[in-house]
């Protein structure tokens, strides 16, 4: 009965294929997003998973609460400057392979929030694979973005996405532990600390930017 019988009747016991093709097919068929809603775009993101738009048709309905189990980070909404190190931290905690969808005008370029509080484009913090325009984008657009990402995944090589141990990534600052520099006794302590960057780009990122 069913597909299995048909397959085994028509196919030989052993087939050969490119490893990339098999692995990428498996990856694109179960893109698990991280549960990470930032603003009103998150409402559309939730709607995308709901029964009307049904993101599970594309294998991407399983929103994981832990970044350790997620493949895609959907940045849904404006990223405030205070949120930026946290967002980067979550990205760093996701194991390779990982992709980023920048959802909506605010995440892509700051949108209408052209001010000191909002990061002007999330691509200043994490490498973005697919940008979705709109304010907010309709669920269909997010589904389309997922499908575009799937096409992109199929073109990649397994070698591109290695989870490498980065010695220097330990040097970046843990969010929430930035030294306080004004009006407290910690001021003197902060002066003795060397300046550290928010984050170190991963090997994957370095290759993209070069």
């Amino acid at each position: 009965m069913g597909l299995e019988n048909t397959l085994f009747e028509s196919l030989p016991d052993v087939i050969t294929a490119k490893l990339d093709a098999v692995v990428n097919w498996a990856r694109k068929s179960s893109l698990w997003p991280a549960t990470f809603g930032l603003a009103c775009c998150a409402i559309e993101m939730m709607n995308t998973v709901s029964s009307r738009n049904d993101l599970s048709r594309f294998g991407a309905e399983t929103f994981r609460a832990s970044p350790r189990q997620a493949d895609v980070m959907i940045v849904s909404g404006r990223v405030s400057r205070k949120m930026a190190p946290v967002l980067r931290r979550i990205y760093d905690q996701m194991p390779e392979p990982k992709w980023v969808i920048s959802m909506g005008a605010c995440a892509t370029s700051g949108g209408v929030f052209d001010n000191y509080a909002i990061v002007q484009g999330v691509d200043k913090i994490v490498p973005v694979d697919v940008y979705v325009p709109g304010c907010p984008p309709r669920p269909e657009m997010l589904v389309h973005a997922i499908m575009m990402l799937q096409e992109k995944v199929m073109k990649e090589s397994v070698r591109d996405r290695r989870d490498t141990y980065e010695e220097e990534s330990r040097q970046s600052i843990v969010p929430g532990t930035l030294p306080v520099t004004e009006g407290t006794a910690l001021e003197e302590f902060a002066k003795t600390q060397p300046t550290k960057p928010y984050t170190i780009p991963s090997r994957h990122e370095k290759r993209r930017s070069s």
């Binding site: 400057r81 205070k82 052209d114 000191y116 509080a117 930035l178 030294p179 306080v180 520099t181 004004e182």
Partner: protein, 161 residues
């Protein structure tokens, strides 16, 4: 329009206690605002809390009137009494060169975070505050965001644009 007779009675009592405590009184829209000299705010607050039961500091906030104004900053104390249900507003005016005012955390504990917020956004310094540091903006933020002369996109490198 609400009757301010009761509130003005408190102002009279303040005046009777020490006339130097009051530099101006505004009676408008059913609310009474007492402008207090900077150095007497602690005494006025102590007097109102202990003698007249203004036991709740409903809000403490700052305002920037603009860089061309002198005095430039004001700090507003919204007092409320849970005993006789009256509200009174105190106001302290501060110059740009010396935006210092004594903290009232010793009188109302709740003033702690309100004063930190005012310091964070306007740069008003509360002397003898137990823990005066930023509360809303990131701790490495440059400048005070709600000042009228603060650029909309912020200072480099945080503008990230």
């Amino acid at each position: 329009m609400a009757d301010t007779k009761v509130l003005l009675k408190f102002v009279e009592k303040l005046k009777a206690k020490n006339a130097d405590w009051i530099s101006n009184v505004t009676d408008s829209l059913g609310e009474v605002t007492v402008t207090v000299p900077r150095e007497s705010i602690i005494d006025v607050c102590n007097f109102l809390k202990n003698k007249h039961d203004f036991n709740l500091l409903a809000d403490l906030c700052g305002a920037d009137r603009g860089p061309e104004e002198d005095p430039r900053f004001e700090v507003n104390y919204h007092l409320f009494s849970t005993k006789h249900h009256n509200r009174l507003r105190l106001k302290v005016l501060l110059s740009e060169d010396e935006p210092n005012v004594e903290t009232v955390t010793s009188i109302w504990k709740t003033a702690d975070w309100h004063e930190r917020e005012t310091y964070d956004l306007l740069g008003v310094v509360f002397d003898n505050h137990p823990d005066l540091r930023r509360i809303l903006l990131p701790s490495d933020f440059d400048g005070h965001a709600l000042r009228k002369d603060y650029p909309l996109r912020g200072y480099e490198p945080y503008s990230l644009s």
